[in-house]
Amino acid sequence: MHAGRYDASVSRSAEIAPRSQAEPVATAGEAARIVARTQAVDAVGLEGRAAALATRSIKRDTKVWGLELVIRCMDLTTLEGSDTTGKIVAMCAKAVRPDPTRPDVPGVAAVCIYPQHVPVAVAQLRGTGVAVASVAGGFPAGLGSLGSRLHEIRDVVEAGADEIDIVLNRSLFLGGRYAETLEELVAAREAAGPTHLKVILETGELGSYDRVRQASMLAMAAGADFIKTSTGKIGVSATLPVALCMLEAVRDFRAQTGRLVGVKVAGGVRRAKQALQHLVLVHETVGVEYMTPDLFRIGASSLLNDVLMQLEKERTGHYSGPDYFTID
């Protein structure tokens, strides 16, 4: 839902990003050059930097603000074949009011679901300030026919999704067919229209940080509003070094074009501590400007309750058991 329908009395969630005005800044013919020009990444140095930032000590007010920001930046996610209307309704309630005993805890940024459930979520979340994000475009492999993938994107736009998470075609990208890769992304951008578009790179399949950075540059050139690490469907997801690598790409894109592209880490972030470490990366790489749901998201399902538990601990000085937090 967008800014106009935001009701502060229901949720402290931030305003949803305004309609996307991102446009492709490159044509298919330039794709190979974008990849070739992408700055190299040294894996040892990158991982060392991420590990060093992970030792930042986040305490007291900083921690509380950080934990609340984690909630405000969260895309509460369920992407299972077994998802039902009941599951979606329950998760939407949780998204709006994560802790029923604490109305001051903000709502999350969005729910992230499969296309089929978009109408239910839209109905549940109308007027709450929580957005509906849908995966589309042949999630998670991205290997259906281009026509059907674009059709799926248009479909979810029509169904009222505020945000769309599509997947990079790793088959084309890893095969070196960069022009076609970019073409597909640009087509997806067009199909999404002004709807907020996130491109999932599925970094765990890309094999190197150099590739992550190249894919980031291509997706941004194609007009993505966000680049996103992972589908959550394979073993390796949003590690700190991968997030750092993408944040550095985003920083370069900002320097080159002036446009701010968001970053979404998804998959594998289960603990509040990990989420705070990601915030530290954001803070020290692209600055406080990025510490908003408009430019940073965390896709997660089990993270929310750990964050609530940590918040409760900051309030009361002791930990509560898991039964004190709802599991919708």
Partner: protein, 494 residues
């Protein structure tokens, strides 16, 4: 009901300030006074003199330390001499046990050592905790392993024997780590030692002395005398068999003169003015981290600091922009705060030296850049500093500043980079940043520096030799090479 959480007004505060996260100093119980560690005991100095040692971040006195005169040094050398036969006669595997025990004790008391190192020297706790103390333990572990394998370390050289008593003089930038670099190989090879820590940072060495007592190292095997330059000079003049010195080139030259013709063996690890060379194809974001680490690690109080940045011209603007942006995120302040990146300058004298050289840089026409950051009122502090528009003839490009000050120069071709990098009286270390493996090898062969790092900087490992060319000294510490200065070889007649 529990109290509500105070939160900053609005969605995003203008700055996300990290709440201070100071490491507790409760683990440290300092004595008022520390005597000299001679013959396994802390003893009063014959000189009768004591001097205060302070925390450079607060200027508070931490303890008083004995000021050893020539008579005290002679007593320490005698103790080492007396202890030598029994220590040399010990089975090598037994010597190893002692050193392993020291290594384990250093690990056991890591937190205490890290906190004390930071209090006495001013370096950030994250460095003393993650670098100094673990590396010191690693050095003891590494050389303990060599103690009973010396016969196999130098095939064809004959039977290795200890040289006798080693006099060891160490600097203030890595007090505990340098003590480990000196003591571990000396002990492993069967030598006894007299160690003199720097006058501004004696406390961790004295804590190490306590650890050696607990480890039941035989009395006199390690002796520690505290004091300033005079104490060091007395040690150099005393009848020791070897001097190992780490410190400034000026003092190194004086020691070289003093020991010339005496038959005393000598190794020197002196100053540096390392070039960190960034090629246009380098992984620039990681190079930025390497450059930052290269010059701001330990406030730039590092002999192998990458104090000259050589950037290939096509990426100069991009790299400089990234460096300036990165400089803004460096956190300068209380070294005991776990989030601090840059701590206090080690002493007032060093701060004055840095200020003098930085002023000369401005006067000679280089362009200075410093980030905006608040500095604490008490203590010795200096903002991280970049100089652009530096030429080879500027003092800031030639002289060792030993502070958080980086001079940036440019180059066009690999040959020019080599020429500029080597155009210094020093030759301790160098860094190369490029994606091209063959260029790394090409450069490394031609750079006259004891250590060449590729796509990293300031990495240390006990198994890797460290030492200089030219005015950066001679002899190697670390690795197999580090054993040799402490050994003589008896030819076995066939």
């Amino acid at each position: 009901m529990t109290e509500a959480i105070e939160r900053p007004a609005g969605d995003a505060p203008p700055e996300w300030e990290y709440a201070s996260a100071p490491e507790s100093t409760d683990v440290m119980r300092l004595d008022d006074r520390y005597g000299l560690f001679i013959g396994g005991e802390f003893v009063e100095p014959k000189s009768g003199r004591w001097f205060p040692t302070i925390s450079p971040s607060t200027e508070e006195t931490l303890a008083e330390v004995a000021d050893a005169d020539a008579a005290d040094v002679a007593r320490a050398v005698d103790a080492a001499r007396d202890a030598a036969p029994a220590w040399q006669g010990l089975a090598p595997s037994e010597r190893a046990k002692h050193i392993f025990r020291i290594a384990r004790q250093v690990q056991e008391r890591a937190r205490e050592l890290a906190v004390l190192e930071t209090m006495n020297g001013g370096k950030p706790i994250k460095e003393s905790r993650d670098v100094d103390v673990p590396l010191a333990a690693a050095h003891f572990f590494y050389y303990a392993g060599w103690a009973d394998k010396l016969e196999y370390a130098f095939p064809g050289r004959g039977s290795p024997k200890p040289v006798g008593v080693a006099g060891q003089i160490i600097p203030w930038n890595f007090p505990l780590l340098m003590a480990a670099w000196k003591l571990a190989p000396a002990l492993a090879t069967g030598n006894t030692a007299v160690l003199k820590p720097a006058e501004t940072t004696p406390l961790t060495a004295l804590l190490l002395a306590q650890i050696m007592q607990e480890a039941e190292l035989p009395p006199g095997v390690v002796n520690i005398v505290t004091g300033a330059g005079e104490t060091g000079a007395a040690l150099v003049d005393s009848p020791v068999d070897k001097i190992a010195f780490t410190g400034s080139t000026a003092v190194g030259k004086a020691i070289r003169r003093a020991t010339a013709g005496s038959g005393t063996r000598l190794t020197l690890e002196l100053g540096g003015k390392a070039a960190n060379i960034v090629f246009e194809d380098a992984p620039l974001d990681q190079a930025v981290e390497g450059v930052i680490n290269g010059i701001f690690f330990n406030q730039g109080h590092v002999c192998c600091a990458g104090s000259r940045l050589l950037v290939q011209e096509p990426v100069f603007d991009v790299l400089l922009g990234k460096l300036k942006e990165r400089l803004q995120t460096l956190r300068v302040g209380d070294p005991l705060d776990k989030n601090t990146d840059i701590g206090a300058i080690n002493s007032k004298a060093q701060l004055e030296k840095i200020e003098e050289l930085v002023t000369s840089g401005v006067d000679e026409g280089a362009e200075i850049y410093q980030p905006e950051c608040d500095l604490p009122e008490r203590g010795f502090w200096f903002r991280p500093t970049l100089f652009t528009g530096v030429s080879q003839s500027h003092r800031i490009a030639r002289e060792e500043i030993f502070g958080p000050v980086l001079s940036i120069l440019t180059f066009r071709t690999p040959d020019e980079a080599i020429e500029k990098a080597n155009n210094t009286p020093y030759g301790l270390s160098a860094g190369i940043w490029t994606e091209k493996g063959s260029r790394i090898l090409h450069m490394a062969q031609r750079l006259r520096a004891g250590v060449v790092w590729a796509n990293t900087f300031n990495r240390f490992d006990p198994a890797s030799p460290f030492g200089g060319y030219k005015e950066s000294g001679f002899g190697r510490e670390g690795g197999l090479h580090g054993l040799e200065p402490y050994l003589t070889f008896e030819r076995v007649s066939s």
